[in-house]
């Protein structure tokens, strides 16, 4: 078995704007099961960061516990990382984000880490609209403990041992919309063409960007009867739109029919261009998104693509009106302005 990646790469590997190749964004060799959907998501994250020319040292990866939460070892090997306590990734991410607002924060979690033990933290980080990308690698089972049904397993889905899941599933995307997430998307690990632009848009979005990515567990949940297998997902996938992410000041290359196409401008001037496939849905209208999700569930479809986006809402720094300088760069004289300043504040309260 190989434990190390060969050092060689394709001699003609393209370079991005800051002179790096994909290699500089990769991590160490994955120890997950061969064929795990999580590895594809890792590869998509690598590609998204490469294409956006993000300096690796400007990224922090924070995760909880689980197969999904192991993946930060396997991508962005030159970035910061924090493997935290089970279900507690959001609080670590919040702390880090408060201290330094200038980084890109990747929260990597799974269905167990977010929908079970971490549900409390998950809902609160959404309502605070923390500026981060929150990726759930959702395989509908506890892969690390031999594949028991998780809270996102669909009712009626059959496990590898033949057991039928009797419980309702938690729909993380609907929940996120309900709680006020400002960017909600769903995708599939086996569809990089959709996943990469979604990740790029999520990174550039100012606010909480939630991505629920269905990621088949090849070992425990890729059997007939499972609703999270490669085959089932491919058959039931229904994309809301074809999405192009157009970075700031770059020419828009793809043209879609008028009326079907929507553009959403992000804070940094980059644009998301959506070619709608489903007409009774508007990504900027929560009611239409919720009903589209409900309709899809009725029809046993898995709705993917960008579901909802709101670029108006303030992120946590905006709400708290924090200082423009990251906290970690404030000097002692700014943090302890002295007796005179304290007196002024006290006078203000009288």
């Amino acid at each position: 078995m190989s434990y190390l990646k060969p050092l060689f790469s394709h001699p003609k590997l393209p370079k991005n704007k800051i002179g790096y190749t994909l290699k500089e964004y990769e991590g160490s060799l994955s120890t997950l099961c061969a064929g795990c959907g999580h590895d594809s998501i890792s590869a998509a994250i690598v590609r998204a960061c490469f294409e956006l020319s993000i300096e690796p040292h400007r990224v922090a990866k924070i995760s909880g516990i689980g197969c999904s939460s192991k993946t930060p070892t396997y991508f962005l090997g030159n970035s910061h990382g924090f493997n935290s306590v089970h279900g507690r990734m959001p609080s670590v991410a919040t702390g880090a984000n408060m201290a330094n607002k200038e980084m890109v924060y990747f929260g990597v979690s799974g269905d167990g880490d977010s929908a079970s033990i971490g549900m409390g933290q998950f809902v609160h980080v959404i309502r605070r609209n923390l500026n981060m990308v929150y990726v759930v690698m959702n395989n509908g089972c506890y892969g690390l403990t031999k594949g028991q049904d998780s809270a996102t397993a669909d009712q009626g889905s059959i496990s590898k041992s033949g057991h039928v899941n009797p419980f309702q599933a938690i729909d993380l995307a609907s929940l996120a919309i309900e709680l006020g997430a400002s960017f909600v998307a769903q995708s599939f690990s086996g569809d990089k063409q959709q996943l990469i632009p979604l990740l790029k848009a999520a990174i550039q979005h100012q606010g909480f960007a939630f991505l629920n990515v269905i990621s088949p567990c090849v070992t425990f949940n890729n059997n007939p009867g499972s609703t999270k297998s490669y085959d089932y997902v491919r058959e039931h996938i229904e994309a809301t739109s074809v999405l192009d992410f157009v970075p700031h000041q770059e020419e828009i290359k793809t043209q879609y029919d008028e009326g079907k196409s929507t553009r959403v401008e992000l804070h940094d001037g980059s644009e998301i261009q959506l070619n709608k496939l489903s007409m009774d849905w508007n990504p900027e209208d929560r009611v239409s998104v919720v009903s589209a999700l409900q309709n899809a569930r009725e029809k046993q479809e898995i709705l993917t693509g960008l579901l909802y986006i709101n670029t108006e809402w303030k992120d946590l720094h905006g709400t708290l009106n924090t200082t423009k300088t990251p906290l970690n760069r404030l000097k002692e004289e700014e943090l302890c302005p002295g007796t005179e300043a304290l007196n002024q504040i006290n006078i203000g309260f009288r």
Binding site: S9, H10, P11, C33, A34
Partner: protein, 601 residues
Amino acid sequence: MKPTNTRDPEYYHKVVDCQYACPAHTPVPEYIRLIAAEKYTEAYMVNWESNVFPGVLGRTCDRPCEPACRRVRVEEEPVAICRLKRVAADQKGDVKQLMPQGPFPPNGKRIALIGGGPASLTVARDLAPLGYEIHLFDEQIAGGGMMRSQIPSFRLPETVLNEEVGFILDMGIHTQFLTYVSSLREVLSQNYDAVFVGTGAPKGKDLTNLPGRSEGAASIHIGIEWLASVAFEHTKSISKKVIVLGGGNTAMDCCRTARRLGGEEVKVVVRSPFSEMKASPWEKEDAMHEDIQIFDNHVPLSFEVENGKLIGMKFQKVKAVYDEKGKRQLIPTEEPDVFIEADEVLVAIGQQNSFPWIERDLGLEFDQWEMPVVDRTTFQSTLPKVFFGGDAAFGPENVITAVAQGHQAAVSIHLFCQGKDLMDRPSPYTNLVSQKMGIHEWSYDSQIAADHRYAVPQAKKSVTLKDRKKEVELGFDVPTAYKETQRCLNCDVQTVFSADRCIECDACMDVCPTSCINFTENAEEDQLRLNLLVPAENTSQDLLVSENLKTGRVMVKDEDVCLHCGLCAERCPTSAWDMQKYFYSVTKAYQVPAPFPSLQK
């Protein structure tokens, strides 16, 4: 594109770049793995079967395999294939017991071989085990041909040559040395069933028309004749100032030999620019290391003779100019002519075929260049029972080419003697076997070593220049050889893809360290090459295209820079990828018609 037909024996063969480039198609990665496993005898035998002279070639081969080595495309320097071959030869145990053991039951057919060089010896080896009575004629005192007369002992010790020539002659070959064949008619009159001509390209080119050539004749020698005369110890010294004309390997051998025979100021003068000299780069390096100066862009004008004694040569300075088609012209510069002092001159500007001994009325056709008309596949001349091979067939090449041609000529002779169709060539022996030893385990060492090429140590110049027979290269020691073997990428362990097993999880595409694997919409080859993750610009390397997958896409793998590291197969959940060792061997005469009888008795 249509799905790749991997059942074509040449598809996977082409992926093994070194083996494909070798005229004799030696299974290079196979013997490199054996060397790594310290199985030198077995490694030697793998070589011996393909190229007949592993010890000779491990020192003197032109190495067409090395520039082809995949390592050049992912790193810089190829694996030191040639020098590893020598390690197998140096460290081998008793190999003779593994070779066909005579006496062989005679089959009643008699074959004459004219010339005792690598081509003839190959024919002898391939045919002897079949029971042919083989008569070998050579004008020299021993077998080996140009390997004996032209390759100096400091590059190829006589003992090495004698051993490998001996392996063949000991198979019961009837040798008639010191016998110059002066008439093919006479040979034909002896009623041989077939005659093989492997007389090489024995005539060195001369500069007959250059002024002063005849006046200075006593001090002007033809390179290959002079080398032969040194090899057979007729010539034992040379003057202090020597000019060697020519830029090929013979010129390099001449100048280095001259240094050992008393030449103190030895200068190589060549018409072409340094970078375009025909000599192998390492031979130029070795020559320069021995204080030999190389003057490029000098065209000889005259031999300068004073009082009946050669005093030097005059040259015109030129520069190379290329037209839009890349054709070179040497244009004189305006600089004054150059005079270079010399007491003796060696002319090593090429060699030619010469067949004064073949009567032109035998029905054996010659072309306008006085070369016999020989079929490129069968090596048969227009006189059905006469076959050609080696330099005698198509002009000067190299030892490994002569061996490869010898194998084919032997097959033809064998078919001819059985009255079979010569164009019905035996197909190669191939075998494709999975290397899987466990879920993620392979029976080959799949780790990729990042080491740079190791240099072969050389004996000290102060020692080697004093003794013509002292070998310069010392060969790898065993620990260094092991490290060098680890640089081999095992290109013969093929990435075999089964579309029906693929679930399109992308794991192989994501893990591939050199971004070779793609899942994409099918298209015509030109377009498909551009559509890959990294465009496949090297069109000399094939694309492996799968059948249609479930989503309608295809898997496309660019073979160009695949490291054969096996990661795609390790990360594949369904074994749609497998690492399978491909063995390819050119079928030799003694393997026809039975596909692959063991060489062991």
